[in-house]
């Protein structure tokens, strides 16, 4: 059961917290420690609820904004097979956004409110989608790298302590693996193609490599929410652990393509059994996060435009349904 009765949940929390907050909180933590799932109407600390709403809604916004850079190529996909795959893929991103909004709503927040926050520029979404897709190879690179990084972030979330989020992530991860594979297949075809295609693939890898590494968030020493989220089992691995895992998995894939990773310091460390990589330009990360990435404005404008231009449609459907139920009431 998803959202019903959640207004009263907020009140219950307050009442419970004033009565016996500490006991409830330690019981909650004990349940989390025992790997029990927390469900929508269960008691939870207000900060846990807020953290989840923030994280799940950011994740949902990212999926929805993420439809745009790849959607940019639906009309120009170079074969009918690729067009078909791309439409299905972008559609999936929309679906993932819907699963996640649905999970966020179980925490007692309306989707309209979350969308308003996004459109007002008050909510964050993954900065990666503020980069442009100038060539077809970017579609391949996004699938391979961006979806690859997303999967690495998301697989641990399937075991997140909050049930509705964990279940949404199970569904999403199942679908994402097709996304990554289709992206790699595009890269492989380009890498084995004409000289122009190979150059296109290399340029896309150059563009997406560093932003993909930034997707894992700030280094552990600078991460704001890390420790508490780990305690609550919302998060299972640190940003740096996941980033390292991504590099270790992805570099051999780039080698197989015969493409170069744009990092002169990249080297295999035999003793540690890891790739060592160069420093990340966090000033770029901060800049894009602050709204000064190449496409922040375009992405938000596109979302706002769709929302505004769709308003009369949403209103019409609601008005029609209201009329129908009025007729049904009269008939009864």
């Amino acid at each position: 059961m998803y959202t019903q009765g959640l207004d009263s949940l907020g009140k219950d929390c307050l009442r419970d917290e004033t009565r016996d907050g500490a006991a409830l909180e330690s019981r909650f933590q004990a349940r989390v420690d025992a790997e029990e799932k927390i469900e929508a109407k269960d008691w939870m600390p207000e900060a846990y609820r807020r953290t989840l709403i923030r994280q799940i809604s950011q994740h949902a916004h990212s999926e929805v904004v993420g439809m745009l850079p790849e959607g940019n190529w639906i009309t120009r996909a170079p074969s009918l097979k690729r067009k078909t795959i791309l439409i299905a893929k972008v559609q999936d991103e929309g679906g993932h956004g819907a699963y996640l909004y649905s999970a966020a709503e179980t925490l007692g927040v309306a989707r309209a409110e979350l969308v308003d926050q996004l459109l007002a520029g008050k909510a964050k979404y993954s900065s990666i989608f503020n980069y442009p897709t100038p060539t077809w190879a970017d579609v391949g690179a996004i699938g391979w790298l961006v979806d690859g990084a997303a999967i690495m972030n998301q697989i641990p979330l399937c075991r997140c302590s909050y049930g509705p989020y964990a279940r949404a992530m199970v569904r999403i991860c199942k679908e994402e693996s097709f996304h990554q594979r289709q992206g790699y297949e595009i890269m492989l075809t380009l890498a084995r193609g004409t000289e122009a295609q190979r150059a296109m693939a290399q340029a896309a890898l150059d563009r997406w490599w560093w932003p993909s590494l930034m997707m894992f968030g700030p280094t552990d020493t600078d991460s704001k929410h890390g420790a508490q989220s780990m305690r609550w089992k919302i998060k299972r691995f640190s940003n740096d652990e996941l980033r390292q895992k991504f590099v270790d998995t992805t570099v051999p894939q780039a080698d197989y393509l015969g493409l170069g990773v744009p990092d002169p310091e990249l080297a295999w460390d035999e003793a540690a059994q890891h790739y060592r990589f160069g420093p990340i330009d966090w000033s770029e990360f901060e800049r894009v996060l602050a709204g000064h990435g190449p496409c922040n404005r375009e992405r938000m404008e596109a979302r706002c435009k769709a929302h505004e231009e769709g308003r009369w449609v949403r209103e019409a459907a609601a008005a029609w349904a209201a009329k129908r139920s009025a007729v049904a009431m009269q008939a009864a």
Partner: protein, 96 residues
């Protein structure tokens, strides 16, 4: 700009194949029953996940309260005589 309300929420239940129960999969927003089914179909059965969909207005669902879960579900705990393993039957006795 006046605040826009979400379309009402429907809980969605899918039967994966005939012979199985409908199972809750999530929710969709829709203005009416026909739209709820279409949205559920587009969202939750893109990969042949189902052969039948139920959509129920979320507001129409009555749920037990977690605060009462002890009162609701604890009493069943000590009624172990309801389970077949409670009874000692000699191994020689078959098909029982």
């Amino acid at each position: 700009m006046n605040k826009e309300q979400d379309w009402p929420l429907y809980e969605i239940f899918i039967r994966a194949k005939s012979g199985l129960d409908h199972k809750h999969v999530g929710s969709v927003h829709a203005t009416d029953a026909a739209m709820a089914l279409e949205h559920a179909r587009d969202l939750y059965t893109r990969r042949q996940e189902g052969v039948s969909i139920w959509a129920v207005r979320s507001a129409d669902i009555v749920a037990s309260d977690p605060a009462e879960s002890d009162a609701f579900f604890e009493p069943a705990r000590d009624k172990i005589y309801r389970h077949p393993t409670f009874y000692d039957i000699p191994d020689e006795v078959k098909t029982l």
